[in-house]
Amino acid sequence: MTDSTAVPDKGTDDQGILTGVEQLSPEKIERIINEVLSSETGAKLKVYVDTCVSCGLCSEGCHFYLSRDKDPKFSPAAKVKQTMWEIMRKKGKVSPEFIKKAAVVAYTQCNLCKRCAMYCPFGLDIAYVLSVMRRICHRLGVVPLYIQDTAHSHSVTGNQMWVKDDEWVDTLMWQEEEARDEVPNLRIPLDVEGADTFYSVIGPEPKFRAQLIYQAAMIMTAAGEDWTMPSTPGWDNSDMCMFTGDYEMMERLKKMHFEAATRLKAKRIVMGECGHAFRSVYDMGNRALGWKMPPIPIVHAIEYYHELFSQDKIKIKKKFDRPVTLHDPCNIVRGRGLHEMARSVVNSTCKTFIEMTPNREHNYCCGAGGGVINCGPPFKNARVESTKIKAEQLFAAKAKGAEVVIAPCHNCHGGLEDVIHHYGVDMELKFLGDIIYEIMEIPE
């Protein structure tokens, strides 16, 4: 009765996982697993694993399951069965081969989006259980190559993208210079002490999407914001270590980030349109450091934009006139309930707003989150195949007239870009900041 008619397991060719597994012995596996289980987990994990009555009702919550033609192997509980159930049942006596498969499941077949927690009648947090599996894999040195590379970058440079300290400052000055063509006295104020707002971004912004920093500077200037960015490490709020299971590094990163803001005596941290970074700063990183809630108020871009429009701090020339739909990112909707604020900003900036369904807390994941897209090319095809349901959801919104998808999250952008391209959805993808910049009155 435990067999399934799942797709044949083609195995993985990820070098990070394969090389890691080569160095494992059953003794090492057992020792590490029991170390993690006894020192880092407790009643929560035990209750989650013991309470599951294997009713399968979580399946409906998972976009992997729905996208993979309801293949039972991809239901949330099935992923636990292939990982932690087995490990706890055998008290860590599992083979290197088992770890190899478990790593693929934990790192690449779950976005940790927590949608299933809303579909499980018991509210079991399966994302947490799979995070424990990732933690074990990290401790065993079995991590997909590409995401491990970003984790290495985090530990060497303090940012995700191997951006050197001088390159960071240089990028900011470059964007400032560009923006001064439009607004001659615009500044990106570096290291200003006591500013109201400390603005932080993720590593990929200076690396690939520097125009977002330009846009943010423009919006801050138009709003008359008293703001600053740090010239030192701590500017990057992103955190792939949180997703590899490298919690020691996650703590160091969050400490750098919070301390960069406190050193400048900032009143609050405003962060760009990123979901996972928000999860790291607002949910996981602060907890790991012993803060029940973040030590400094954390304001996500959506909240910030909402503040701008509700307090009339920014003027628009005219509303964005192409019909838009909105993608609710897991980490700021199921993670922080920003869905109504996002809608309010969309309605303040766009003429026609078309809901995709399901939406708000029930929105389907982009397929990229939880570090899955960061596991890179070896898993890209599998990832995109697992977003069929997202493509269908986008097609339905398109059929209702939507031409532009707003996704206020970097990871979602990466994921949706692939969805749109692969399934031929043919919709344009934008950040809220893109739209605001496009329609706002540029300050003198």
Partner: protein, 219 residues
């Protein structure tokens, strides 16, 4: 026959109550102690109002999106759980036993209602079984333990109906009825049936997380 009856209604009955209560207490205390030691954060985030909000939504039929997506399962699950509790507690024959043994009694169900409720439990178990072997996503998760538990849960109700209608061999069935009821009670603390006690805590915790930290609904 009467010797066996005396044993299973005497010492065995006490044993099953003792195992049920003692075992449940033991599991509660050990989980609580472990949580105190390793999951301090859980106590920090637990929030009574949000916990109750979540529990209320999930104890209301069709109160969560997933219940609306699975209407048949929702109807069966709710009727099953309600019948499972009401029938044994209020069936006339059980209350009479209590009255005779301890001199306490409470309201009873009419025989006809009790009969129907018991059949609801049995048919629900058949439904769950069918679901377990027919729905691929459930089949994939199902182990033989799940099936055995289903049988143990259905047994006291199936035999109860049998005995009530006095079908062939009902005196023996009475013994099976009592024995299977005792067995069901005794395994609760050590199997997934313990979910009856853990539900408020798991639901309450995720409700607290969603309500207090995530500021989102969890239904």
């Amino acid at each position: 026959m009467y010797d066996i009856y005396a044993i299973i209604t005497g010492p065995l009955a006490w044993l099953s109550f003792a195992v049920f209560l003692g075992g449940s207490l033991y599991r509660f205390i050990s989980l609580y102690q472990l949580a105190r030691k390793k999951d301090g954060a859980v106590f920090q985030y637990m929030n009574l109002a949000y916990a109750l909000r979540s529990i209320a939504h999930w104890l209301t039929p069709f109160g969560a999106r997933n219940m609306r997506l699975n209407p048949v399962m929702t109807v069966v699950t709710f009727s099953f759980h309600i019948a499972l509790f009401i029938a044994p507690l209020f069936v006339f024959a059980h209350v009479v036993l209590l009255e005779e043994s301890f001199g306490i009694h409470w309201i009873t169900l009419s025989d006809r209602v009790a009969d129907i409720l018991s059949m609801v439990v049995v048919f629900s178990c058949i439904f769950f079984f069918a679901r377990r072997i027919m729905r691929p996503e459930v089949k994939y998760l199902t182990t033989w333990v799940d099936i055995v538990i289903l049988i143990i849960v259905a047994a006291p109700f199936a035999t109860g109906v049998w005995v009530f209608h006095q079908w062939a061999g009902f005196p023996t069935m009475t013994l099976v009825h009592i024995l299977s009821g005792e067995l069901m009670l005794a395994i609760i603390p050590f199997t997934k049936l313990f979910h009856m006690f853990l539900f408020p805590f798991t639901r309450g915790y995720i409700g607290s997380e969603f309500g207090g930290v995530r500021m989102a609904k969890d239904w």
